[in-house]
């Protein structure tokens, strides 16, 4: 046991001395989270809009005021004519003009469907769609408060398909994704490279000719990364709540439990990679190309799995991150309990078992 701790201590020392990996371990998660949070964002914030109010009633101005009051929009100008409106859009002064028809309040009072026309600058279609969704959600909320019913606008149904994230806050989407990516990166890449480095530097040659059992060498090797993963999960959760204002709905203990399970899976994959290759370069190549790319592309982190071709959907089933990310989303954002993620837990456990057995079968107690 003492031997074991000596090894773990040595491992921590080496990691702390290797500035590059420390940088990767601590800066990368923060960087990625902030990058996704602020730079690569399609969120709407203080988007400028104009109003063309042909009704000039209490109701229309109340709705306009409410849109203006939200954090997503700010009212730039009230225009009087269509020509004025078109000029503003053409210049790009505003992205949105909200148009109320002449008999807006009257129609509403009679129970007819009044019309709001949201005219959008659709150069960026995604953004335009988002703006449309936000604005109509706010308008219909105001309308519903006054008349007790949800009204259709402009013949387009406003569906409640954004149940858990009505404002399409992207943080809800990317935080579990980034965690899935980071944990996988650190555990698979760092352990496989770390173990292979011992082979490449010849350390393994001496360690094998020692009373220490090779299995302990491997376990001791991964413990520091396991510990670091706990820190990283905590860090990500803190950033998610403090910086992005995500409310964690589910149990924090379950989130940690899932993360530990996933970390373990990534570690066993890292060990498996290390038993197959002999140079750090190959290890890095395999960890990034064979395991990282599918994690980014097929886990549902960036591209929704439902939109993929059928074949890729099947492939995504064997991407470990898919199971973690979907479980984390369910627990963190929808507040699901353990029963709803039982399948994910089972799949991840099975994967751990598979890779553990595979690496045990491949592990050598000699040099070749």
């Amino acid at each position: 046991m003492e031997k074991f701790f000596a090894f773990v201590l040595k491992e921590f020392r080496q990691i702390s001395r290797d500035r590059r990996s420390v940088a990767i371990l601590f800066i990368l998660p923060v960087l990625l989270l902030l990058l996704f949070g602020f730079a690569i964002t399609n969120e709407i914030r203080e988007s400028k809009f104009a109003v063309l109010d042909c009704d000039k009633s209490a109701l229309s101005s109340a709705i306009a005021a409410r849109i203006d009051a939200s954090e997503y929009f700010s009212l730039c100008k009230s225009v009087q004519t269509k020509a004025e409106m078109e000029e503003l859009l053409a210049r790009g002064t505003v992205k949105t003009v909200v148009v109320f028809e002449a008999d807006f309040e009257k129609k509403a009072a009679c129970g007819e469907s009044p019309q709001i026309n949201i005219v959008l600058d659709a150069v960026d279609p995604n953004e335009a769609k988002n703006i449309y969704n936000y604005a109509s959600a706010i308008a219909s909320a105001e309308f519903a408060e006054r008349f007790g019913r949800s009204a259709p606008f402009h013949g387009i149904d406003i569906r409640a398909n954004m149940l858990f994230n009505p404002q399409l806050k992207s943080a809800y989407d990317f935080v579990p994704g980034v965690m899935g990516l980071i944990l996988f990166l650190i555990c698979t890449l760092m352990t496989s490279v770390g173990i292979v480095r011992e082979k490449e530097m010849g350390n393994m040659e001496i360690l094998l000719v020692s009373p220490m059992r090779p299995v302990y060498i491997i376990i001791a090797k991964v413990i520091p990364y396991f510990a670091l993963s706990v820190l990283i999960v905590s860090g990500c959760l803190i950033i998610a709540t403090a910086v992005f204002g995500i409310a964690i709905r589910g149990s924090v203990a379950l989130i940690f439990g899932l993360s530990m399970l996933y970390t373990l899976l990534a570690l066993t994959i890292g060990i498996t990679v290390s038993t197959f290759v002999n140079t750090q370069q190959t290890a890095m190549f395999i960890a990034t190309s064979v395991f990282m790319l599918p994690t980014v592309l097929l886990s549902g982190m960036i591209f929704p799995i439902e939109n993929m071709p059928r074949l890729l959907q099947y492939v995504s089933e064997i991407v470990p991150a898919k199971w973690y990310i979907s479980a984390l989303r369910a627990v963190m954002i929808k507040g699901c309990g353990i029963a709803l993620v039982a399948k994910n837990i089972a799949v991840m456990s099975a994967m751990i078992l598979f890779f553990a057995l595979l690496s045990l079968a491949k592990f050598k107690t000699r040099l070749e």
Binding site: E2, K3, F5, A6, F7, L9, K10, R13, Q14, R17, D18, M201, G202, N203, E205, I206, L207, L208, V209, S210, P211, M212, T365, R366, L367, E368
Partner: protein, 311 residues
């Protein structure tokens, strides 16, 4: 009769490679006795490292047996790993740990208290102590090698397996290193060491010449030199290239090898030193030629060319 520290019998090892592979070891047998320094002498690619790794239980031979301190290297590798100290040819400690940390780590791994271990390796450790906070990767070749020896010795092994321990080490450190090995022998540690240097071979108790995976001869350095069957003439002082050219033309020499600034000549049967002097004076200028005692290198060259002619 003394018992064996390392006894190998008819070892064969072929590395699979392009075109069927070549035999790294081709029926190697020797018996290194307990308490002696047994040297494995041969050029690069002779199979030394393969042999050392088999002795250290790191690889398995294709056929043949290796018995280390009475244990079978294939079956009892765990027992053997507790009683041998192994130093690979390449520096294999942690370059990003300090001297002190490396020693502490290996003491723990071998289940020894660090203090006990250091007491045991005191003589070597004393020379490293002033640098104990330095990272192993920043040490000179000689210090790296001493540190590696410290770590290999820390658990008081019965047998030290050293694979080319002095390659890339300065001459002074090499001297020191062999002094240390002599002291190890005094406290009862057997040493199995490989080296390409003939001057180091002379410091072993017994040596085995190895070339192309075959043992050419096993004996004490003194006996090997004494058994050299031919005369040796040593020529020096002049241009080596012209000397060799002249010798080749003369038909007097069976073989001629340059050793630094002189040349060792094995004369053909019946050729006298006078003939040689005359010939060289004619064609190559101012050489002094004298009869010289055979060196281990002469013996190796002779045995090696004999082996090559036979095959």
């Amino acid at each position: 009769m003394k018992s064996s520290a390392a006894k190998v019998c008819n070892l064969r090892k072929v590395y699979a490679g392009n075109g069927g592979g070549t035999a790294a070891l081709d029926g190697v047998s020797f018996d290194a006795e307990e308490g002696e320094i047994f040297g494995l002498i041969g050029p690069d690619g002779a199979g030394k490292t393969t042999l050392m790794r088999i002795a250290a239980t790191l690889i398995l031979p294709d056929s043949g047996t290796a018995e280390i301190c009475g244990f079978d290297a294939a079956r009892d590798c765990r027992r053997i790993r507790q009683i041998i100290g192994y130093m690979p040819g390449k520096f294999s400690l942690y370059q990003d740990l300090t001297i002190e940390e490396n020693i502490a780590f290996f003491a723990k791994v071998f289940g020894v208290r660090k203090e006990d271990g250091i007491e045991y390796i005191e003589e070597i450790y004393r020379r490293l102590e002033p640098f104990k906070k330095r990272l192993a990767g920043r040490l000179s070749g000689g210090m790296k090698q001493k540190l590696a020896l410290c770590c290999a010795l820390i658990h008081r092994p019965k047998l030290l397996v050293l694979d080319e321990p002095t390659t890339g080490v300065d001459p002074v450190s090499r001297q020191e290193f062999w002094d240390i090995l002599q002291n190890m022998k005094k406290i009862g540690i057997s040493v199995l060491v490989s080296t390409p240097y003939m001057d180091e071979a002379a410091r072993c108790d017994r040596i085995a010449f190895i070339s192309s995976g075959k043992i050419l001869k096993t004996d004490s350095p003194q006996n090997i030199v004494a058994a050299f069957p031919k005369k040796i003439f040593r020529a020096s002082g002049g241009k080596m290239f012209e000397l060799l050219k002249a010798l080749r033309g003369s038909g007097l020499a069976e073989s001629a090898y340059s050793f630094g600034d002189s040349c060792h000549i094995v004369p053909k049967c019946g050729a006298r030193i006078e003939d040689l002097k005359k010939c060289l004076q004619f064609s190559a200028g101012n050489f002094s030629v004298a009869e010289a005692p055979a060196t281990l290198e002469d013996c190796f060259m002779e045995l090696n060319s004999g082996e090559r002619n036979r095959s």
